[in-house]
């Protein structure tokens, strides 16, 4: 059987933060390869560097050394503006606290990333309606985030993450703020995105039930990949 292509290639990646005069090493010489269509769960205790690794893969942070290639692009070499464009086209984000814009409806929140594309209003509408049907929230499309439950908000966030058909979806503790039933719904949805639509998902979690949905689990401990 033919091997799926690599979508993420991380080589010798290190990252540290500076607090006052202290340097805190978060990731040390990490190397990781993720195949297209993979559903990877990054696990580890708090402070192990899993969110930092996710941020580096998603291009919202920059490494101190090493390379991060996503879809063949070394994203560390991109300028801020190039990186922003790259993220818009290639990465879908799911946050722990949903991070929806409170003054926009569910429909408008999902439409937001499409404003950066050349799609017409009509095309955008079609895309958003498809995404709303996919996350089963079409009847809540005109509701504001404050009028939705946590699980519904996270489903809106998932719809927003997939609306541009990105290369990878990164999720940082997507069930961390949800009750068990809502968490299950969200995880089922992510599983569908991976299995039925072939989306590559990289999920940070410390919830073993969430990790069970993933096809591959990697552990981070004190900045080192186990």
């Amino acid at each position: 059987m033919e091997q799926p292509p690599l979508i993420v290639e991380i080589k010798d990646l290190s990252k540290s933060y500076h607090r006052n005069s202290q340097t805190i090493s978060v990731l040390q010489h990490i190397s990781l390869e993720i195949e297209a269509g993979e559903f990877l769960a990054l696990m580890g205790p708090s402070g192990s560097g899993k969110s930092t690794l996710l941020n580096l893969i998603a291009g919202i942070d920059r490494p101190d050394s090493g390379t991060v290639r996503v879809g063949g692009v070394d994203i560390a070499l991109l300028s801020e503006a190039q990186l922003a464009r790259w993220r818009a086209a290639n990465v879908g984000f799911i946050f722990q606290f949903y991070n929806l814009i409170p003054v926009l409806t569910a429909f408008e929140n999902i439409e937001l990333p499409l404003l950066l594309t050349r799609l017409s209003r009509q095309e955008r509408r079609k895309h958003v309606e498809t995404a709303l049907h996919l996350v089963n929230l079409f009847d809540r499309k005109d509701h504001y985030p404050g009028q939705l439950s946590g699980g519904e908000q996270q489903r809106v966030a998932i719809a927003r993450a997939i609306i541009t058909d990105p290369t990878i979806i990164v999720a940082d503790e997507p069930t961390g703020d949800l009750d068990r039933i809502s968490a299950e719904e969200v995880l089922t949805l992510m599983d569908r995105l991976n299995r039925q639509l072939g989306k590559t998902i990289i999920m940070v979690t410390h919830d073993p039930r969430a990790a069970d949905k993933a096809r591959l689990i990697r552990h981070l401990e004190k900045g080192l990949l186990q």
Partner: protein
């Protein structure tokens, strides 16, 4: 586009009370500036309405010292002089002192030739025919409810006695912004009476107004007039009408400068208030900017979004200020009409409103916008987590 606009407006008015107060402060600042500027313009209105081809000749000692009427013919002979008229400040009081308005005894033929007053032909003819008659400005007539044919009595302060005039005409301004609250009567009528009651003031005038054939001749003609009467008993000081008008205004120039400075300081204070509001508003939404950046909104787009939000607030203030300026200036104009007869809005005020609110909007938001654009996404997301 619609979604961007909705996002901008929703964000701008997310904290309604704060947005309202900021808009109010911009509105008040612009209104204050507009009113002060209109006040200053009204102060300089006389000078603004003056012609470059008119000279004013008066006694070189002071305006309170008169000149002999005999100067008229000598002045008329000077090359470049096209027209001449003369007059005296009468300083009469109508019923009581609070009813103050400017009243002059004038030589009407020359005066109407030199100034663009609009008077219906039959009224003008009646005025020129009857030496006891007078003409009054439209606003003055409205103020006291006078009608053509009314007898108007002024109590003399410089020239004693009660002086009766028949209102023969009502003038309004022509093409230029002339004061419509003045009162003119025949200098001959005054002179005739003075010959009996104050013979030493008879055949004397307070000023001559001279029309020059070409504007570039004014300096030459003024020098020639003053040279003609040099070493006489009443030496003259001839200057352009504008300089003459400004000589009154410059007495209070320091106050005017202070008013101008205050109006600019008000704008600066509002800039600081608006900047503070924008800084707070941007800062409390650091997480949202980070989310937008995560979704692919580049630094430039973030700056544009914040600037546009700030401009919405500032321009809302501008629109409200523009709408309120008309009734406000009208009210102040009515209140001050006895002192500042030409209290009129200039179109430039609104250009300034637009420019100032644009500046306030940009200056208030530029630093918070740049900060929001620069803030590292990972750090901002950690802050809201």
């Amino acid at each position: 586009m619609i979604l961007q606009l909705k996002l901008l407006f929703k964000n701008a008015f997310r904290r309604k009370f704060r947005a309202f107060l900021t808009i109010l402060s911009v509105t008040v600042a612009l209104l204050a500036f507009g009113l002060l500027q209109t006040f200053i313009d009204a102060w300089y209105a006389g000078a603004e309405a003056s012609s470059a081809r008119r000279l004013v000749c008066r006694n070189s000692i002071s305006l309170t010292f008169p000149l002999p009427l005999a100067y008229r013919d000598k002045i008329r002979q000077i090359e470049g002089v096209e027209a001449i008229t003369y007059g005296s400040w009468f300083g009469g009081i109508y019923i009581e002192e609070k009813n103050f308005f400017a009243n002059f005894a004038i030589e009407p033929h020359g005066y109407f030739r030199l100034y663009d007053y609009k008077i219906p032909a039959e009224q003008k003819e009646r005025f020129l025919r009857d030496r006891r008659s007078a003409v009054a400005g439209r606003r003055l007539v409205e103020r006291f409810g006078w009608r053509i044919g009314d007898i108007i009595t002024l109590r003399g302060t410089i020239f004693p006695g009660n002086w009766e005039f028949v209102l023969a005409g009502i003038y309004s301004r022509g093409t230029v912004d002339l004061d419509e609250s003045q009162f003119f009567f025949h200098w001959d009528y005054l002179n005739q009476a003075l010959k009996k009651i104050m013979p030493h003031r008879a055949d004397m005038v307070d000023f001559y107004i001279i029309g020059v054939s070409r504007a570039d001749l004014t300096t030459e003609v003024a020098q020639a007039i003053d040279q003609t009467f040099k070493n006489s008993l009443a030496e003259t000081l001839t200057e352009t009408e504008r300089s003459f008008q400004l000589s009154f205004v410059t007495m209070s120039e320091a106050i005017i400068k202070a008013i101008q400075l205050i109006s600019l300081v008000v704008i600066l204070i509002i800039m600081a208030v608006a900047a503070n509001t924008m800084a707070m508003s941007v800062r409390e939404r650091t997480g949202e900017w980070a989310v937008l950046k995560t979704l692919g909104f580049g630094p430039r787009k973030i700056i544009v979004l914040i600037l546009a939000e700030s401009l919405i607030i500032a321009l809302a203030g501008c629109i409200i200020a523009t709408a309120l300026t008309f009734p406000m200036v009208s009210t102040f104009g009515r209140t001050l009409r006895n002192y500042l007869p030409i209290f009129r809005l200039k179109r430039e005020i609104f250009y300034f409103y637009l420019a100032a609110s644009f500046l306030v909007g940009v200056v208030a938001a530029i630093i918070p916008a740049c900060r929001a654009a620069r803030v590292p996404i990972a750090e901002a997301l950690r802050r809201i987590a």
